[in-house]
C-alpha cells in the first residue's frame, strides 16, 4: 500500500504563552488502518481575476476519505481565491495561505470551485483519493 503522511504545525505568540499544535495523519482509505490512499491528482495553474474554476475535473468516489490540499502561491497579500462547494462559501485563501480538508464530493453539487480576485492568482492543488469517475467527454 502507499503510505502518505500529512502533518501540520500551528505556532503562535498571540496568547500569553506560546501556542504550538501539531498533528500528523497517515492518509488511509475510508475506515481502514492497513490500506493507504493510493491515487493522486496534482495541478498548478494561473487563475485570472474573476475566473471560476472547478478544481477537480473528475468525480472522486463519494463518502470516502479523500483529502484536498490547496495553496495560493500569490505573493501579493491582497490577492485571494474564494472557495465554494456547490453554492456554499467555504472561505478565502489569501496569498501564501493553504488549506487541507477532507473532501467527499458527495454529488455533482459538491464539487469545489475557486474564484480568483485581486489579480492573477497562482494556485497549486493536490487531491489524494481512492478512485474517481471520469466525466463524460463533451
Amino acid at each position: 500500500m502507499a503510505t502518505t503522511t500529512a502533518a501540520v504545525t500551528l505556532t503562535s505568540d498571540l496568547l500569553s504563552d506560546n501556542m504550538s499544535v501539531t498533528a500528523s495523519t497517515t492518509c488511509m482509505k475510508a475506515g481502514t488502518t492497513a490500506d493507504g490512499l493510493d491515487q493522486m491528482e496534482y495541478g498548478y495553474l494561473d487563475l485570472v481575476t474573476g475566473d471560476e474554476y472547478d478544481l477537480i475535473g473528475a468525480t472522486p468516489t463519494v463518502s470516502k476519505a479523500s483529502k484536498l490540499y490547496l495553496k495560493n502561491h500569490s505573493t501579493d497579500e491582497t490577492y485571494f481565491i474564494a472557495i465554494t462547494q456547490g453554492t456554499q462559501a467555504i472561505g478565502k485563501l489569501y496569498g501564501g495561505d493553504w488549506m487541507f480538508i477532507p473532501a467527499d464530493f458527495h454529488d455533482a453539487a459538491g464539487e469545489i470551485a475557486i474564484t480568483a480576485n485581486g489579480g492573477t492568482n497562482k494556485i497549486c492543488y493536490a487531491l489524494f483519493h481512492e478512485g474517481i469517475t471520469l466525466n463524460a467527454s463533451a
Binding site: S12, E77, I101
Partner: protein
C-alpha cells in the same frame, strides 16, 4: 504584532515513482494585509456521546463555531482533528447544510472560513405611560422589577439584565431598548409582538414592542457529526480576526 504560522508537510515515498515531499508555511494575516491575526479560540477538546436516546438514532451534530459570533469574509482559519484511534470512526464536517467531508481516526483538517452569518432578529421595547416601583416585565425567562417610576431608569434596568438569548442596546436617558438575538436564525425568532413580554404594572405602564426585524438563518455555522453514539473526541482551534 503577533506571529502565527501554519506549516503543512506531506510526504510519501511510494505513492509516486519518485518521492513526494511537500512543505508549505503560511504566516496567518488579516484579510488582504501583512498584519498578523490577533484572536484565537485556543485549542479545545471535546468528547461526544451521551445522546438522548444514547443509541445511533440519537446522534446529533455538535456546533463548533457559529458564524454570527465572528466577522464575515475575513481570513479566519479553522483546525479540527479527530483523535479517535478506531479506524471506522469518523466525524462528518458540515458548513451550514453542505457536507464537506469525513475526518477518520487521526485525520485533521485546516481550512479558511467565511463565517457568513444570517440576520439576527431584533425589536425595540418602549417604556411608556405610568409605571411604579415594583412593576415587572418578563422576557426570555428574565424578570425586570422597576426600582422606581422613572421611565428611562426602567429602560436602563432592562438593558442591565443578562438575557440568555438576546443582547440589548440602550442610550442613557432614552426610554427605548433594542433587543438583538444572540444568534441568527429563522427557526423561531421571527417578528415579536408585545404579547411576548409579560407586563405586570400597578398603573397603566406599557412596554410595547415595535420595529421588529425577522431573523434569517446563518449560512456557515460549522458542525461536526460523530459516526457513532459512543464516545468520540475531537480537538478544534479557530484563528480569527
Amino acid at each position: 504584532m503577533a506571529t502565527t504560522t501554519a506549516t503543512i508537510t506531506i510526504n510519501s515515498t511510494d505513492l509516486l515513482t519518485d518521492e513526494l515531499s511537500l512543505t508549505s508555511t503560511a504566516t496567518l494575516t488579516t484579510a488582504g494585509t501583512s498584519t498578523g491575526v490577533t484572536q484565537t479560540s485556543g485549542l479545545a477538546r471535546k468528547t461526544t456521546g451521551n445522546f438522548t436516546p444514547d443509541t445511533a438514532a440519537g446522534i446529533q451534530a455538535n456546533v463548533l463555531y457559529r458564524a454570527g459570533d465572528y466577522t464575515a469574509d475575513k481570513a479566519n482559519k479553522v483546525y479540527i482533528k479527530n483523535t479517535s484511534t478506531t479506524a471506522a470512526e469518523y466525524f462528518t464536517v458540515h458548513i451550514d447544510q453542505e457536507e464537506l467531508g469525513r475526518l477518520y481516526a487521526g485525520d485533521w483538517m485546516f481550512m479558511p472560513w467565511s463565517a457568513t452569518s444570517g440576520t439576527k432578529a431584533a425589536f425595540t421595547v418602549t417604556i411608556a405611560a405610568t409605571w411604579a416601583a415594583g412593576d415587572t416585565w418578563e422576557f426570555d425567562g428574565i424578570t425586570m422589577t422597576a426600582a422606581d417610576a422613572d421611565l428611562d431608569n426602567i429602560a436602563g434596568q432592562l438593558d442591565g439584565l443578562n438575557y440568555p438569548n438576546w443582547t440589548t442596546t440602550w442610550v442613557t436617558g432614552e426610554v427605548t431598548v433594542i433587543f438583538t438575538a444572540r444568534y441568527a436564525s429563522d427557526a423561531s425568532e421571527v417578528v415579536y409582538a408585545t404579547a411576548d413580554g409579560t407586563l405586570d404594572t400597578a398603573g397603566n405602564g406599557t412596554a410595547d414592542i415595535s420595529s421588529s426585524t425577522a431573523g434569517t438563518a446563518s449560512e456557515s455555522d460549522i458542525t461536526i457529526r460523530p459516526s457513532v453514539h459512543t464516545a468520540m473526541t475531537y480537538e478544534t482551534l479557530l484563528i480569527n480576526e
